[in-house]
């Protein structure tokens, strides 16, 4: 019952936004007679119709983009997690890598996309590399914070039980690091998709970004198709976030925000 009560506003908001979109589109086209009105905000029902007609192509292309982004995402996440474990285990590694990891957070990483594409001419590899690179640092930083969030008392207990370093990690640090790991992954997932699409726009042969670019160049006759690709791109980003959030619920279900009652925030 409660879940239903929460979903109603979202649904109403969604419906209202769609109606507003349709109304503004109609207003631009019929009343204001803005030049290129349909390119600026096309009728949403026509975009959806295009979705139906070309759904197969859109799905095939977005699968390529998504697969590349996911591949890079896993590579980057694995490397980031490895670096986090290294940094938590060795002070030297932390001192060496930590300032750079932090500085990299302040640098517009996506700006590197054309350069990476210039170095690695292979489009699949470039897409995966960018996605991996974008994923790497948020995951490393957030997981390190998680690994370090272990309570000193628990560590002392493990020490008192003469636990091996391996079991300290396995039983204490890894579970404690999961929330941090997932907050890093949630930051990185949509970014990885963005990175993959960006590389495609720089010049690839397949993927949703390529379709976006082509339909943009064809001009007003391909407006609905262009908007469909944009919506697909957005959906890919949202889907990646939703998948990671779903995994988080399965892997680390004890976090306060998942509680339905009690415990407060």
């Amino acid at each position: 019952m409660k879940a239903q009560g929460r979903q109603v506003p979202v649904l109403v908001w969604g419906a209202a936004l769609l109606m507003l979109w349709e109304a503004v589109s109609w207003f631009l086209l019929e009343w204001a007679e803005v030049p290129m009105a349909q390119s600026k905000l096309p009728y949403i029902h026509k975009v959806l119709a295009t979705f139906g007609t070309y759904g197969g192509v859109l799905a095939a292309e977005s699968r390529i983009t998504f697969a590349n982004a996911a591949g890079g995402f896993f590579l980057g996440a694995a490397a980031g997690a490895l670096l986090a474990v290294l940094m938590s285990a060795s002070k030297w590694a932390e001192r060496l890598a930590f300032p750079y990891a932090v500085a990299s957070q302040m640098i517009p990483i996506l700006g590197l996309a054309p350069i990476v594409f210039g170095i690695v001419r292979d489009e699949e590899a470039a897409r995966m590399l960018i996605a991996a690179y974008i994923t790497f640092f948020p995951v490393a930083l957030n997981m390190l914070r998680g690994l370090k969030s272990v309570s000193p008392a628990a560590l002392e207990l493990m020490r008192a039980c003469a636990a091996s370093p391996w079991s300290v990690y396995w039983k204490l640090r890894f579970p404690a690091s999961l929330p941090g790991l997932f907050s890093g992954l949630k930051i990185a997932a949509p970014l990885a998709v963005t990175g993959a699409i960006l590389v495609e726009l720089m010049g690839a042969s397949r993927g949703i970004g390529v379709m976006m670019l082509r339909n943009l160049y064809y001009g007003p006759s391909h407006v609905y198709m262009f908007w469909s690709t944009v919506i697909v791109g957005a959906l890919l980003g949202i889907a990646s976030y939703a998948i990671v959030s779903g995994l988080e619920r399965i892997a680390a279900p004890w976090q306060p925000e998942f509680r339905t009652k009690g415990g407060g925030r």
Binding site: R6, P9, V10, V12, W13, G14, L17, M36, S39, K40, W92, R95, L96, F98, P99, Y100, V102, A103, Q105, M106, I107, P108, I109, L110, G111, L112, P114, I115, F117, G118, I119, L141, R145, K148, S149, V150, S151, P152, L155, P190, V193, T194, I197, L198, L201, M202, G209, M212, L216, F226, T229, V230, G233, A234, L236, G237, I238, S240, Y241, R265
Partner: protein
């Protein structure tokens, strides 16, 4: 009465500590990056090394050595990296040519030769990022306010703000170009959209972290809804707001640069993608260096502001 107040203070402390650990995530981190040694004070209490550091008696001498290690080691590693790069170690390892991955000396030369244009373009890109971030963050904050004031319906709008966060920037670029022309406006719009969500979500979180006991206290003072917002919710959300602002500085720079890749005749992103197209790799790299410097500066300014504005906050007290 007294015990009630006491526990209220305690509860507040706990909430603030929580806020502090979250805000501190970025905080102590910056100081290490800048080479300052006194990270100990700002670090969250839960971290392990803090407990270790308080113990030994000969701490002063050791911490001086530690500080040197903190600064010297990363710097040495960075210098070694650049030296290896200059000596073409990476080129040999990865089988690259100098025109694919330009040498640091060539990048520095390109920067010196084009310094004026790089500086003016960096200013242009930074202006876009700052304007867009200001607009986006303001809108995001208002959304958060509305969502807190009318929880039932406002939370729905928050869901859409959050999903905007997942929309790839590159998909926005062509649309904003159609809406706002190829001038500065389209990039400002891109940045505003990408920064809005982070602010809305963070500020909403901060406003709803308000201590229930503090709210009860306001109620017992017969405070108006507006006063509750002003003194409890908005004030309490400031650490979260600044966390969002810091996230948004980077997001803003990325949005501005990526927006310029496709539709612009000025700016660092334009120069970057253009010089890659005509195979002027050193110039492209110098754009990246410039963007990195501008990004770090922008971040440091926001962090400075944070220190000025929430000096009163427990997480900032030393």
């Amino acid at each position: 009465m007294e015990s009630g107040l006491l526990s209220s203070v305690k509860g507040e402390e706990a909430v603030r500590e929580q806020a502090a650990t979250e805000a501190a995530g970025a905080q102590p981190v910056m100081e290490t990056a800048m080479g300052a040694a006194e990270t100990t004070a700002a670090e969250p209490a839960t971290e392990l090394p803090a407990a270790k550091r308080t113990a030994p008696p000969g701490r002063r001498a050791r911490s001086a050595g530690e500080a040197a290690g903190r600064v010297v080691l990363p710097l040495a590693a960075g210098a070694l990296f650049i030296a290896m790069w200059e000596l073409k170690v990476f080129h040999r390892l990865l089988n690259l040519q100098a025109y694919q991955l330009p040498l640091p000396s060539a990048i520095v030369r390109a920067m010196r030769d084009n310094f004026d244009i790089l500086l003016s373009y960096a200013g242009y890109t930074l202006t876009e990022a700052i304007l867009g971030m200001a607009i986006g963050s303001a809108v995001g904050f208002v959304v958060a306010l509305a969502a807190t004031a009318w929880p039932g319906w406002g939370a729905g709008s928050l869901f859409f703000a959050a999903s905007l966060n997942a929309v790839p920037i590159v998909a926005l670029a062509p649309i904003m170009n159609l809406w706002f022309g190829s001038g500065m406006g389209s990039r400002v719009a891109i940045v505003a959209i990408t920064t809005m969500a982070a602010m809305a979500i963070n500020a909403h979180k901060g406003m709803n972290m308000a201590d229930p006991l503090a709210l009860d206290l306001m109620r017992s003072y017969a405070a108006r809804k507006r006063q509750v917002f002003r003194y409890v919710r908005v004030a309490g959300s400031l650490p979260y707001v600044f966390t969002a602002l810091k996230i948004n500085t980077t997001a803003g720079m990325i949005g501005a640069i990526v927006g310029e890749f496709f539709i612009s005749s000025r700016g660092l992103g334009y120069l970057l993608s253009n010089s890659i197209k005509v195979a002027k790799m050193p110039l492209g790299w110098s754009c990246i260096v410039m963007a990195a410097i501008a990004g770090v500066l922008f971040y440091l300014i926001v962090e400075r502001l944070e220190k000025v504005f929430i000096r009163w906050h427990p997480s900032r007290r030393t």
